[in-house]
Amino acid sequence: MVTAAVALDHEPPADAPSDAALVVAAQAGAIWAMEALFKRHTQRVNSLALALMGRDSEVDDLVQDSFTRALQSLSQLQVPAAFASWLSSIVIGTAHKTFRRRQLLVRLGLSRREPVDMERLIARTAAPDVAAELRAVYSVIGELPPEARLALILRRVEGMKFEEIADAMQVSLSTVKRRLSEAERVLDFKRGS
């Protein structure tokens, strides 16, 4: 499972209900439990959404779509304690759909690729080497197919292992490596230029 993605925003107090307990209550229709799950995971999901989309203006839609989809399909979650990683895979899957839809619109000439606003994306407090690496990654994502873009961000920005990316994207390990290789090649070209 996605171990890198399961870290909670802040560890809940010892006496706070666990994720599993909240999921069970939410599965029974308790809105308060759903809200508690949202608040517990919103910081990390917002961060992941920004990393994936590369644009703050698109974060709200992804966060809302992902949480709505997750909370509406809680009955499908077999292991309540795995809520965090399951939620992450939903965020990634939803972002993937968005990219594919956007790619189609671009091909149809109904939309165009918009460059990433690095000044808004990268924190002013980011270390220069981190900022430089982020700039390099986000300067190429527009040129990548959706799958390679996701793989590159999960690897370089989120720091996930190959196995974790494969789990999150629901593809094989070799597919992940192939997509990453494709993305890295474009990244190297960019760096080389």
Partner: protein, 367 residues
């Protein structure tokens, strides 16, 4: 393989209470059960959207361009007074300058081949896995991965020169009858070769020599006992040899820094930026060297020289602003007040609202 250090902490994630509340309100609103649309209505809506999209495709792709459906053998010509653009289904765009003519020799999922008969064409090629995209102009063939470049055929010239200039990515140029293999032309480079096969390699080497001559000379520090080693000549391997050394040096520098071997890290970055000045990593290596000299090794004068070199090596790199800000810091720390003030003015002129502007403006005030 271990995962790289996550960079997500460097993103400007904004999760104010107001935003979180707004997000939850939207989610809660969508969780409320509402009247569901009848299935037939959903299908009708979907069909309408599909029809609209297909119609739009024909309207935007074919209508305004007044092109026949693109098939192998299609010839596209631009008038004498205006440019014309063609967009393929994958988003690849070809812009023909006035008076140009090309033909789609091959137009298959796995291979696209365009032959330029006259004029100039600018290509912005979308990378497609497993597809070969080639351009032919006279005896010159260009193989593309996914890039933006321009090919110009100049008519009425005794040698019929073909010019290739690459804006993004890289292309391989092959000349018929030349057995020495493809010549890589990278972003920012041009390839002004006459079509005379015999002279191709000579000209290619000339291009290389010019590029070497144009590569910024190393900025060398004064003083001894530093990791700098003065050199005025690039030691980059000749054309065609792999540039493994630069990659290995950069990785060695990173490893040494992670292990706390700061002098070794500085030496590796320094060697890279001296020996491989045309490598894409040279600028970043100089930048990293500057950071080490300034922050870890407390040698601000060396740091200043390294930052200057980083800016010279990679003037358009994403880290330029950081390099300029740190140059100001290094010059202040080394007591070079006049140079500091000049660098400060340069930074503030270039980045009046930059990430480091508030700090830079406070530096070298004594001057």
């Amino acid at each position: 393989m271990s995962a790289p250090e996550p960079l997500s902490g460097g993103l400007a994630t904004e999760t104010s209470p107001i935003r979180v509340r707004r997000q939850w309100d939207a989610i809660a609103g969508r969780l409320q059960p509402g009247p569901s649309k009848p299935m037939r209505l959903r299908w009708a809506g979907g069909a309408l959207v599909l029809c609209t999209l297909v119609g739009a495709w024909f309207l935007f792709r074919l209508g305004p361009l007044n092109l026949p459906a693109l098939v192998e053998g299609t010839v596209v010509e631009s008038g004498a007074s205006g440019a014309r653009s063609v967009t393929l289904a994958d988003g690849t765009q070809l812009v023909l300058s006035a008076g140009s003519r090309l033909q789609f020799v091959a137009l298959q999922p796995k291979q696209v081949e365009v032959s330029i008969e006259r004029g100039g064409v600018e290509f912005d090629v979308t990378h497609v896995n497993g597809r070969r995209f080639g351009v032919r102009a006279g005896e010159v063939r260009i193989l593309v991965v996914g890039t933006r470049f321009r090919v110009q055929v100049v008519e009425n010239s005794p040698s019929q020169p073909v010019r290739v200039s690459v804006e993004r990515g890289a292309v391989d140029v092959i000349v018929d009858g030349d057995g020495s293999g493809p010549l890589r032309v990278a972003a920012g480079e041009a390839w002004p070769l006459p079509l005379t096969v015999d002279s191709t390699r000579t000209e290619a080497r000339r291009v290389e020599d010019r590029a070497d001559a144009q590569a910024p000379a190393a900025v060398e520090p004064a003083g001894s006992g530093t990791p700098f080693h003065p050199s005025t000549k690039s030691h980059e391997p000749p054309l065609g040899e792999p540039e493994q050394g630069a990659k290995e040096l950069f990785e060695a520098g990173e490893r040494a820094r992670s292990a706390g071997q700061l002098a070794a890290a500085a030496a590796a970055f320094d060697e890279l930026r001296r020996r491989f000045r045309r490598d894409g990593r040279a600028g970043l290596a100089a930048f990293e060297l500057g950071r080490l000299e300034l922050e870890q090794l407390s040698r601000p004068a060396n740091a200043a020289r390294a930052f200057r070199d980083a800016i010279a090596l990679a003037p358009t790199a994403p880290f330029r602003e950081d390099a300029e800000a740190r140059l100001v810091q290094a010059l202040e720390a080394s007591g070079e007040q006049s140079a500091c003030a000049k660098a400060k003015q340069g930074y503030l002129a270039r980045y009046p609202h930059g990430a480091h502007a508030a700090i830079v403006v406070e530096r070298c005030r004594g001057d």
